[in-house]
């Protein structure tokens, strides 16, 4: 029996897609239970499958959908034992545990407090003080939007961050703001699109798609609402150095 036959490589992708059945499905399941190599590959395939819906045009659910879910949820009682441990929680609570933890750790501290700070005054030393935690702080200044400013707080893992801006004008529905990482000798990549509220403020969770030190400039531009693959507008906010 060859290595290829020992490892069901040919069927792993189909299994991740839910497109196997019968003996082939059973064989994959029993194999990955003991083969770390195939289990690792399957995990990556599952990650890809989980991201497939991002390739679809987003469609908003009907406005009344949440009301119906909430009403039905209120009628039902969550099952399962009490909150002795994560493992013992009902499924939605187990899901919510990391959500709550993440929110408590990041949103509660960064979002709420920083948002309050931004409400009171433009980002300044007080806001910077909030960023005195492991990670990076990028201060964006309003090169193309006088009076506007922004703070990009990059988490210690280098991949996640929060962006707070103030002083940008609210945009019509067909326009959006977009964050960019400009790299020398490499394509400019986006960290996400965001809109500001009626007072010109924004708080957004963003992705840092490349190591921050690979970027020469971090910038924000105004783009069509669908977003752009590369910047088409002039830099409204810009940073060329960070710590």
């Amino acid at each position: 029996m060859t290595e290829e036959h020992e490892h069901p490589i040919e069927n792993l992708a189909a299994y991740a897609l839910g497109a196997l059945e019968g003996p082939e499905q059973v064989r994959v399941e029993s194999h990955v239970a003991t083969c770390t190599t195939c289990a690792s590959l399957l995990e990556q395939y599952r990650g890809v499958v989980g991201a497939l819906p991002f390739g679809l045009d987003p469609v908003q659910p009907p406005a009344e959908a949440w009301a119906a879910i909430r009403a039905e949820a209120a009628r039902r009682r969550p099952r399962g034992p009490g909150p002795a441990s994560i493992k013992g929680l009902p499924s939605w609570r187990r899901v919510m545990w990391p959500v709550v933890a993440a929110l408590a750790a990041s949103l509660l501290v960064w979002n709420v407090v920083l948002q309050l700070e931004l409400t009171r005054r433009p980002p300044g030393p007080e806001v910077e003080a909030l960023a005195r935690r492991p990670g990076r702080l990028v201060i964006l200044t309003g090169t193309g939007a006088p009076g506007a400013s922004g703070r990009l707080l990059v988490a210690i893992d280098g991949h996640h961050g929060h962006l707070a801006t103030a002083g940008l004008r609210p945009l019509p529905a067909e326009r959006t703001y977009q964050l960019w990482f400009v790299r020398p000798g490499a394509p400019t990549v986006t960290g996400g699109a965001f809109r500001v509220d009626s007072r010109g403020r924004a708080w957004a969770t963003i992705t840092v798609p490349v190591p921050l030190d690979e970027a020469r400039v971090v910038a924000i531009t105004e783009e069509p609402a669908l977003g752009s693959a590369t910047p088409t507008g002039s830099y409204l906010l810009e940073a060329k150095s960070w710590r």
Partner: protein, 180 residues
């Protein structure tokens, strides 16, 4: 921080409801059925009908897995014409412009759309028939009149290509709760 039970469910809905509805609508092709899938997905989550295993992936993957399975079940329970619609829809292709997004999901969507557009049409078809149509490899081969081995190869090659392109975006957030 204290989150009430309903607030917790609402948070999940706010973050993933749109994506789940989009997925369900793509599969069942009917807004009312998609709404049914959406509601069923969150209520299964709520009442513990589905078990979340953090070792098997992130929360959105889990939620979308529930939604996808429920939608496929609905699709299979309908007349054969419903599944034929999937083949017709595939002829139209993918990669329509995305809608505005104010979240960090934009890079992933952009990357996924680009990656899918970069696949040969036959490979993309194999992926979409499996995931959105609920076809098994054997059924895809039969529907297309193509040898099973060819379908398997197309599927694997397509998934390997997507994995190569997208895993660097997916992997850093593995095990987290945010968006891919």
């Amino acid at each position: 921080m204290q989150l009430g039970e309903e607030a917790g469910l609402e948070l999940l809905y706010a973050r993933y409801g749109g994506l789940i509805f989009t997925l369900a609508l793509r599969i069942v092709g009917d807004p009312e059925l998609a709404r049914e899938v959406l509601q069923d997905t969150f209520l299964r989550c709520w009442d513990g009908s589905e078990s979340f295993d953090s070792a098997r992936g992130r929360v959105p993957w889990w939620l979308m897995g529930i939604a996808r399975n429920r939608a496929i079940d609905l699709l299979r329970s309908r007349p054969h014409q419903a599944r034929l619609r999937e083949r017709e829809q595939l002829a139209v292709g993918i990669g329509e412009p995305a809608q505005p997004d104010a979240t960090a999901s934009f890079p992933m969507r952009h990357a996924m759309v680009s990656a899918l557009q970069g696949l040969p049409a036959a490979q993309r078809q194999a992926i979409e028939m499996a995931y959105y149509g609920g076809f098994t490899q054997t059924e895809i081969a039969r529907e297309l009149g193509t040898p099973l081995g060819t379908i398997k190869s197309r599927t694997r090659e397509a998934m390997d290509r997507l994995r190569t392109l997208l895993w660097p975006l997916i992997e850093p957030q593995r095990g987290g709760v945010g968006r891919p």
